[in-house]
Symmetry: C2
Subunit: 294 residues, 2 copies
């Protein structure tokens, strides 16, 4: 059977069958990051790898420094989504011998800039020849206080659903230049009991059903923060927004909304809807394609 | 300037210029693994990524389970070379949508087998489409007792040089099916003061000059443990031996050689030569290509 005829989730489920989580693995396959550490450790470690493939995640003419920025920013965004902070990075590049040194240096300058911005220490890496497209992968370790670690799975029916920023249209450039919501996520987990959180990488239409399902819930969408010039459809399915999606007990809603405006006056926060009892997924008018997440 | 006209070491040197090691990075770019931790921590953490590219590190018709085995065994071998043990792994695969699920499952079965054998817990990973060759990367964390951590850089003129096993001819199959020398390396660092160590991945002809240079030394080769049917030239330059190369004070030599025979009677250990004062690199007759490591 060809991979193309299965979905990514189905492929992963088949491949990882028989992999026991193993001692020390607090959160394994299926969340934004793997979490390891002792049950009672005050600080847990986060592990994440994220890869960019030329022609899929960037184009041959994408500006080299932004390719490097994106390669680092994506796993940093995943750590933010767990409530954590990045620490050490290893950089893997597979590249054609005919490639220009200048391009590689440009990519690295973007990696280094993002590393400085988010406090990541580049501790090593590896380079390989490749007869194919440029491949760039960053393995990142990080930390999160046990008390502040947020998974995708904690949401329950009734929780309010929030999204930071605006969604859709990322291919115009934001997919390369986005700023991971580290500061916002740290503030959220410090000040509030966030029940579930993830970053929107595949688009709300794919990611929200995952968050709801992980918590054994359905969901209802009331409104969407569409990026300028974007339709609701784009906001749902373009993907690569790298905004935070999170769930919060309704009673904490008013305090959060007021505090957010004070703390992040320039970043929109939208209550998009609610988690509902399992099986009761309601769609805003016109968003039928939610029924079949791509 | 094209990458092909520079060497790997020169490319890495240019790219990583300006990357300060950063707090907590005990050993950064340039050794088998990155080592992180506090100066006085009893146990340090090891970080390593290693990638296989189809057409470079394996062929389209290589048996899938052995591709997976190799992908895991290579970074495990790097951890062994530091005196450490692997702990958690993340698996990254980029693969064409037209690929067969069966092949991917075969690769994963090899990864899981190697993980069980070496006590590695697979904590997560990532999958991506690729329009090019199959790309498989494993990011591995591990641990090493500070007192037992061995780098490439500790060798000094006069030290004996040892190699485990036999060298050359790995392309006949051993490059896929090798067993990383974890047990041997752990025994060595427990029982002896190993001054410098690395695993032979690029071949003795490339790797020994690196180990000597890292310690500010030259080297002299007296003998080589050639694999059956292999010439000295092959033993030096075929690469992918994944044997241990290490340096030891001469006074410890006799005790090591006797104890090794008792502990590992079925694995050859060869004293191949000595480190010499810097600039005094002597070559066994007929190995002129040592002068120009590829």
């Amino acid at each position: 059977m060809k991979l193309a005829s299965l979905g990514e989730d189905a492929i992963v489920a088949r491949l990882t069958r028989g992999i026991a989580p193993g001692a020390g693995v607090r959160i394994g396959i299926g969340d934004d990051c793997a979490v390891v550490g002792g049950k009672r450790d005050a600080v847990w470690r986060l592990l994440k790898t994220d890869a960019l493939v030329e022609g899929i995640h960037f184009l041959p003419d994408s500006p080299a420094p932004w390719i490097g920025w994106k390669a680092m920013a994506r796993p940093v965004s995943d750590m933010a989504a767990m409530g954590g902070l990045p620490e050490y990075a290893l950089v893997t590049i597979a590249i054609a011998p005919e490639a220009e040194m200048k391009r590689l240096q440009g990519i690295y300058s973007g990696i280094k800039r993002a590393a400085r911005r988010f406090g990541v220490k580049v501790a090593g890496g590896e380079m390989s020849r490749s007869p194919g497209p440029l491949f760039l992968s960053i393995a990142l370790t990080g930390t999160v206080e046990r008390e502040r670690c947020v998974t995708r799975a904690g949401g329950r029916a009734g929780d309010f659903l929030y999204v930071t920023g605006r969604l859709g249209g990322s291919l115009k450039g934001r997919h390369l230049r986005f700023v991971p919501r580290v500061e916002e996520a740290r503030w959220l987990t410090e000040s509030f009991s966030i029940r579930a959180m993830m970053d929107l990488s595949d688009g709300l239409g794919s990611d929200l059903p995952r968050l709801a399902k992980a918590g054994g819930a359905g969901f209802r969408i009331d409104r969407l923060p569409c990026a300028s010039g974007c339709s609701a459809r784009q906001a749902i399915s373009d993907g690569e927004d790298y905004e935070l999606l999170f769930a919060l007990r309704p009673k904490d809603g008013p305090r959060l909304e007021a505090a957010w405006k004070e703390r992040f006056p320039r970043l929109k926060l939208t209550r998009i809807g609610q988690l509902t009892p399992r099986g009761q997924t309601h769609l805003a008018r016109g968003h039928d394609h939610f029924a079949q997440p791509r």
